[in-house]
Amino acid sequence: MASSQTTDRGTRNRLMGTIALLAIVLLIAAAVGQYRLFSYLAALFIVANFGAAAIERNDGELDLAPYTGLVAGLGVVFVVGFTVIWSQWNPDVTEYTYVLGLPVSTLAYFVFLWLLPILGALYYALVFPEIGNDDAVDDILDEARRVQRRERFPLSVASPDPDGGVGNAEGTPSENSASGTSQSAAQESPQAEGGNRR
């Protein structure tokens, strides 16, 4: 078990380390003036940050679900976009081939770096039930409240209850909790210490 947790943490750390490394390499690429390299690295950096949303969800495996399609899709459109741009344009170009009233390279920017990525928002909405369904939310909130019944945390919503239930300062269920179940409004305790884990 401990070995598995260490492996999981190592995988997550490597993913985050990759993002940090990309940030440093981007700074170096900018400093030495490698703009083509910088463009692809920037694309990779942006896509990698999307991947960060999944690193704690999948038990340490390199599994970006449910955002695999989003990461892959954005990666493809960014690479295609920059490849078209760099194949059609460089700083010395003064004559253009026009399509739909725009130079082809500029049209590639419009299509691949502006319009198609917006579809990523639609992708998010479509996979949302996988991360935001009632069962998933209830599991998170129930588990969090179970922990809070055992330990006291600063700004904790649930407070220990002698009956084993969740105390509620108002005595009524909150209509505005994500799960719709009851909450309480315990006072912040700067001294409070709770159970922690990695």
Binding site: R12, A30, F45, I46, P91, Y96, A121, N176
Partner: protein
């Protein structure tokens, strides 16, 4: 998005009855919403996060509105007119920023508000890192950024009030600030999100009209492109004509990173997730915010390029200043009703963005700083009143800065989007998705991001103002990138590297609160 360009003095005072009508109606609506919000505000939670009451459309459009500030209507056309397509790497990138923000933070922050009693970004960072230092630094960074944005927005507000109502600049500032103060202090965030909603609707419709008129004015996209290419092929290239070609490419790509990834570090945007009625509300927020922003960005794109194309073709006179291209276009080349709608939208954009900043700034003063110092205000009613008083104080302070010191406004103007992105992206967006993040990493990221921003942006400006041009030249010589490469991007990348690096070094000694770990794994 970034602070408004200053000055806007040259926006002509219009005698169009439509402009007066739309501007007047907007202010009445705002005051009405303020009173309505007041009647619904009973607690600090109501005041700061609407009591978690807002639905899909209001959430999406308030997110749109706080990002599409007056800059999109004034600074946007100015940049496009001056440099061609370079500026599109700001406006056309913003929709991607919404997606990143939603993916990384929407669920995490909304559930965090159920698991812990968090009302501000600093609250959220405090419970994540269990550090009063992280909370205090977050609050200080919020206050500095808020003062900067407020000063630049109020500086713009005075000229927009003059253009619409024919007031003197001084009365434009005082009356505009008073109305902003009144509805913000009375109605809190409940009023804020609904005025954002009104602003968004106004902007979206106005942008569609203006886009059609601008394309028609320029003779269609093909004609616009050919006229621009004849004057300077770089204008219509993928990266524009901001300067030397290599520098321009790096500027554009730097903005691409900053305005996509950096969106998830904007406190006035990410705290909106606390406000949704429930988690399901978040599902369609990203598509709505991204699509509406994409539509509204057509205004800056079309007016800037169209005006420049026609000026280059000799078909119209060049405006006195590039900073007034947008307002001049709508006043001179669209019907009075459209011009009225757009100027009302500009007024709305400035006021609604200012309102959001006032809200988070006041919370930082009344809630975050006292709690970071171990002196929380325990009584909710007292905390609410102190928050309202802090809001009034911030408004008065910003008004006095604008009234007495253009120099200070200029210095504050160097602090903007990149400041927040560097300070908060790593600690919030990455920290709420990675259990390995530590408070040491968070502190290093905040301080590193602030230091880079202040050293390369604010200090040279201060030195120049003080007549110490040698100092600013020296600092410039230490900048290893092309001059126009955004400092905010550098700060953001440095902050991310520090955050991850320091966290990796220190994480063996640190753990995550168990209930927060449940959230991060979910």
């Amino acid at each position: 998005m970034t602070p408004l360009p200053i000055p806007l003095q040259e926006i002509p005072v219009t005698d169009s009855p439509y402009v007066l009508l739309f501007g007047g109606v907007y202010l009445l609506i705002v005051l009405g919403i303020g009173v309505w919000g007041y009647l619904r505000t009973e607690s600090t939670e109501d005041f700061l996060i609407t009591g978690k009451s807002i639905g899909t459309w209001v959430l999406a459009l308030t997110a749109f509105s706080v990002i599409q500030s007056g800059f999109g209507f004034v600074g946007g056309p100015e940049l496009v007119y001056s440099f061609g397509t370079t500026a599109l790497w700001i406006f056309f990138t913003a929709p991607l920023g919404f997606i990143i923000t939603w993916v990384l933070l929407a669920k995490r922050m909304r559930l965090l508000a159920d698991i812990r009693d968090v009302l501000t970004l600093a609250d959220g960072m405090y419970v994540r890192y269990e550090s009063a230092w992280v909370r205090g630094l977050t609050a200080v960074a919020v206050i500095v950024g808020v003062m900067a944005y407020l000063a630049t927005n109020l500086a713009a507000l005075q000229y927009v009030m003059r253009a619409i109502f024919g007031l003197s600049v001084m009365w434009g500032l005082l009356i505009g600030a008073f109305i902003l103060l009144l509805y913000s202090m009375l109605g809190g965030m409940i009023a804020g999100v609904w005025t954002d909603f009104v602003q968004a609707i106004t902007m979206i419709f106005g942008s569609v009209f203006v886009f059609a008129y601008a394309l028609s004015f320029g003779g269609g996209m093909s004609s616009i492109s050919h006229n621009l290419a004849t004057a300077d092929p770089a204008f219509i290239s993928p990266f524009g004509a901001m300067g030397a070609p290599t520098a321009t490419i790096f500027t554009a790509l730097g903005w691409w990173i900053l305005f996509s990834v950096g969106a998830a570090g904007q406190p006035h945007l990410v705290t909106k997730f606390y406000m949704s009625r429930n988690l399901k509300i978040l599902r369609w927020g990203a598509p709505i915010a991204a699509a509406t922003y994409a539509i509204s960005s057509l205004l800056a794109f079309s007016t800037g390029l169209s005006m420049r194309a026609m000026v280059e073709a000799g078909s119209t006179a060049a405006p006195k200043s590039a900073s007034i291209v947008g307002p001049v276009f709508v006043l001179n080349h669209t019907p009075g009703a459209v011009a009225g709608l757009i100027l009302a939208a500009l007024l709305a954009a400035i006021m609604s963005t200012s309102d959001s900043f006032l809200n988070i700034g006041a919370a930082a003063v009344s809630r975050d700083i006292p709690r970071a110092l171990g002196r929380p205000i325990d009584d909710d009613k007292t905390e609410l009143r102190v928050t309202q008083a802090a809001l009034a104080g911030l408004t008065v302070a910003s008004t006095l800065i604008v009234f007495y010191s253009q120099t200070l406004v200029g210095i504050l103007g160097t602090i903007g989007w990149g400041f927040f992105a560097a300070a908060f992206f790593a600690i919030a967006a990455l920290g709420l998705n990675w259990k390995g993040a530590t408070k040491e990493g968070a502190i290093a990221a905040i301080l590193g991001g602030l230091a880079v921003n202040l050293f390369y942006s604010a200090v040279p400006h201060i030195a120049d103002t003080a007549g110490l041009s040698g100092v600013s030249d020296f600092i410039g010589s230490l900048y290893p990138f092309t001059e126009s490469f955004p400092v905010g991007t550098v700060a953001l990348l440095v902050a991310i590297a520090l955050f991850v690096g320091v966290s990796l070094i220190t994480q063996d000694r640190r753990t995550v609160p168990e209930d927060i770990a449940v959230l991060l794994e979910g």
